[in-house]
């Protein structure tokens, strides 16, 4: 939380300054009491029920309701379709409406790159980055590869087949950056469904895969697949002994951002109110439990820092994908 505190101070200063200027400019009387208890909060979930984004949104909503942090009614709507293009497109069209809100995930960065959406990740009013969904590089238990060094060495000899979810995704970008820096080639195999990807690794068809830790924790515990390296900044407790890429000298700072955004051009009061409220949310035991259960790395950035993070990440994404000819 070291980063969090210092950021918090910086953001608070900036926020205050902005708040004053915006208030002076607009002096919107309607915004005097945000949030109003009579307005319904429309929470867009850009994916179907049961997915990572859905669970996170519903966790936050249940915390908001349990501790009565939000005065009015909250309605969660799954607006799935087009890898998030539909849901976030809906939020984008609610310009200036402080009663629309949504949760982000990896596709928040990648969908605009592949679909030419009218919005980009920085079009929205940022509230906070709350956590990062990190990946783990794993191999089959029968693989001769035991350590990260083994992996790099054997990859330099023969290009391995590495599986991941989708082509325009963190799953492709992180291994590509790693291969570039470590100086080896690899064949990337894109999958549509996690189940098929995991069985492909178990069947020995793939040499390795990158996957969200939570998806395979059971298989790792049972020893069916072996973790080689973790892409986040800090290895989760139960994976002690698995090195992070940063420890091995490959720090890319890329991950799927799990955060909260409001529609574009929302009044400063609403943004500040949400920053203040989300600060309370992440200190609740339910949130801590959620982070732990889903193996997320708590990575907290507030307001404009979040936008900056999104911009840097998207820039890297765009550069890598263009270089590899995946997007034009």
């Amino acid at each position: 939380m070291r980063l969090g505190t210092s950021l918090r101070q910086a953001v608070r200063g900036a926020a205050l300054a902005c708040a004053v200027s915006v208030a002076a400019l607009t002096a919107a009387p309607a915004m005097a009491e945000y949030p109003s208890a009579s307005e319904r909060l429309d929470w867009t979930i850009a994916f179907g029920p049961g997915g990572g984004n859905d669970i996170m949104a519903r966790t936050i909503i249940s915390i908001l309701e349990k501790y009565k942090l939000y005065p009015g009614e909250i309605v969660a709507q799954n607006r799935s379709g087009g890898s998030g293009a539909v849901g976030w497109g809906h939020l984008f069209n609610q310009k200036g409406n402080p009663y629309g809100i949504s949760t982000t995930s990896g596709s928040f960065l990648t969908t605009p790159l592949k679909a030419n959406t009218p919005w980009g990740p920085s079009s929205f009013t940022p509230v906070a980055l709350l956590a990062a969904d990190d990946l783990i590089l794993v191999v089959n238990k029968d693989s001769p590869i035991k350590t990260f060094e083994d992996w790099v060495e054997s990859s330099k000899k023969t290009a391995p087949a590495l599986g991941g979810m989708g082509a325009v995704n963190v799953d492709f970008i992180v291994p590509t950056l790693l291969a570039e820096k470590a100086g080896y080639e690899f064949e990337y195999v894109a999958f549509n469904k996690q189940g098929e990807l995991t069985t492909a690794l178990l069947s020995g068809a793939l040499d390795a895969m990158v996957v969200n830790t939570g998806e395979v924790s059971g298989l790792i515990e049972a020893g069916d697949i072996r973790p080689i390296a973790f892409t986040g900044s800090q290895t989760p407790d139960w994976l002690k002994g698995v090195p992070t890429l940063a420890e091995k000298g490959y720090d890319f700072g890329i991950s799927a951002p799990r955060g909260v955004v409001l529609p574009p051009d929302v009044p400063k009061e609403a943004q500040d109110w949400w920053i203040k409220t989300m600060k309370e949310v992440i200190n609740k035991p339910e949130w801590q439990e959620y982070i732990k259960k889903h193996d997320l790395t708590p990575t907290v950035l507030w307001g404009d820092e979040f936008t900056k993070f999104l911009e840097t990440n998207q820039e890297t994404f765009g550069r890598v994908l263009k270089a590899k000819g995946v997007i034009q």
Binding site: G50, S80, G166, A190, D224
Partner: protein, 511 residues
């Protein structure tokens, strides 16, 4: 007997008054939800998942599993009564189920359908109880080459399906394949045929196309024939409904189809991904090619309904194996169940059965109970469905359109998909009118993208060499089975022809 200990443990967990209430409620809700076109098991589960948040884990998972099963049972009802499959796994049930209903045998068809579902489901659960660990090994041997071979097996069925009217059949299937190429290309991220629409980058889904081609197409066709002017009944000759129960002949022809369909369904269902759809198709084509009277198929052969029904329910049990033993979802529905496990703090994986025996065996035990409950519910509910057909067509048809449209919308909350359904309805009407095959179109839509995806994955893994298909044991086995099925079909049709010729020869000589 460790096995019985496990099962007893499961039953002791499952049989509490409150859990039985959840189970029954789940089965009922699932069945009703399954009947609404658009709400397959997956959509039903994900919509109802939030309802279970407040419950205790075992009760909730029992209820969700019951919804899953119930929806599988319910899905067939519209296939039989309205020729509208709500899910790709029940497309095969329309082939003979709908003709049966048209001939005034909706009652027997629905009863046999429920029996077949029960039989398939129960065989599936018994196999899970006894041999889950062994079957987990099958799942473990499945990579892209094996998937491709499996999809090819399903494609063979398409050929059986197209049959005599091959030119129209080929056009129908190719339309499906073409629709399947819409969306973002998985490997390169390139957009194909999306015309810049964000809604299309995920591809064209089964539901709007199937509901349009079958549901609306069938309705327009009925209007075209002027059925709205008829007093009652309509597409289906309710007036001719003589008896509600299946007759002895129905049981005799279905006996072996039940067994074959169930075992085949379970085995194919073990494989994450294609599972139930391929299973039901294969069961149908095996039944047809092994039959002495294949010409009855497609015109109301009871075994042609029973086999795919037993297969798709057994497959839905089979899909639980990868979920319980490896933590891998085998279908869209089991993916929702997996999410539910995670939600309740259960870590799915190979250790699930050891670490959470109550939950795992409670779930298995609840499947036995659920299947029994569903059989009973079905038998009681079938008269109600058959009664529904008494409603004059001019009143029934608008209601069906209402449900189809809202059902399609609710899947993704997308108005574009509703328009797709609308367009598919017009095309479906003409296809029906002029003898094309909507079934070939929707099956090609499901199988085509899978074939492309898995073939390309395979060739990347093998660095371009097609030999990988024969080098990997499981893939080779599936290839051999497929060739065997094809050879058997050709042999049977030849021997039938020869027999007929012999019979003709005898006839003429005796004259």
């Amino acid at each position: 007997m460790e096995l019985f200990d496990h099962l007893l443990l499961g039953l002791s967990v499952a049989i509490t008054p409150i859990n039985i209430v959840y189970l029954l409620a789940g089965a009922m809700i699932g069945m009703i939800v399954g009947i609404i076109p658009g709400f397959g098991p997956a959509a039903g589960l994900s919509i109802l998942l939030p309802l279970t948040f407040g419950m205790d884990p075992i009760g909730a998972i029992m209820m969700l599993a019951a919804i899953y099963y119930g929806a599988m049972y319910g899905g067939t009802i519209t296939s039989i009564l309205l020729n509208t499959p709500g899910e790709s796994a029940v497309v095969a049930s329309t082939f003979d189920g709908y003709p049966l209903a048209q001939q005034g045998r909706a009652g027997p068809a629905l009863v046999m359908q429920a029996v077949a579902s029960f039989f398939g489901g129960t065989v599936g659960v018994i196999l899970i109880t006894v041999l889950a660990a062994v079957f987990a090994l099958v799942t473990r041997s499945f990579g892209p080459p094996e998937f491709f071979m499996l999809v090819m097996m399903g494609m063979v069925t398409l050929v059986v399906l197209i049959g005599d009217n091959w030119r129209y059949g080929a056009v129908s299937a190719l339309i499906g394949f073409a629709l399947g190429t819409v969306g973002v290309d998985l490997e390169t991220g390139l957009q194909r045929f999306t015309f810049g629409s964000a809604e299309l980058i995920g591809g064209i889904e089964f539901i709007p196309i199937a509901i349009g081609l079958f549901g609306l197409g069938e309705l327009y066709y009925a209007f075209y024939q002027g059925l709205h002017r008829a007093g009652s009944g309509g597409i289906i000759q309710y007036q001719n409904e003589k008896e509600f129960w299946p007759n002895a002949q129905d049981w005799i022809v279905s006996k072996l189809a039940l067994v074959r369909g169930s075992i085949l369904g379970f085995c194919v269902g073990l494989m994450p991904g294609a599972g139930a759809t391929v299973a039901s198709l294969m069961a149908y084509s095996i039944e047809k090619s092994s039959s002495k009277t294949p010409e009855r198929f497609g015109k109301g052969a009871m075994e042609g309904l029973v086999a795919p029904e037993a297969a798709n329910n057994a497959a839905s049990a089979g899909a639980m194996v990868p979920l319980l033993t490896l933590g891998i979802p085998g279908s869209a529905s089991t993916a929702v169940l997996l999410a539910a496990f995670v939600l309740w703090g259960v870590k799915p994986g190979p250790l699930l059965m050891e670490q959470n025996p109550e939950l795992a065996w409670g779930l298995v035990a609840s499947m036995y109970l659920g299947n029994m409950a569903l059989l009973a519910i079905n038998i009681f509910a079938i008269p109600v469905f058959v009664m529904m057909l008494k409603v004059p067509y001019r009143l029934l048809a608008p209601a069906v359109i209402l449900v189809c449209t809202m059902g399609t919308f609710s899947v993704h909350g997308s108005i574009i998909e509703v328009w797709l359904m609308f367009a598919a309805g017009i095309v479906g009407f003409f296809m029906k009118l002029y003898g094309y095959s909507p079934a070939a179109t929707v099956l090609a839509l499901v199988l085509g993208p899978l074939a492309e995806e898995t073939l390309r994955q395979t060739l990347i893994i093998s660095r371009g060499s097609p030999l990988i298909f024969v080098e990997r044991g499981t893939s080779l086995i599936i290839l051999l089975i497929t060739l065997g099925v094809v050879a058997f079909g050709i042999y049977m049709s030849h021997s039938r022809k020869a027999e007929k010729m012999k019979a003709n020869a005898v006839d003429t000589s005796s004259e």
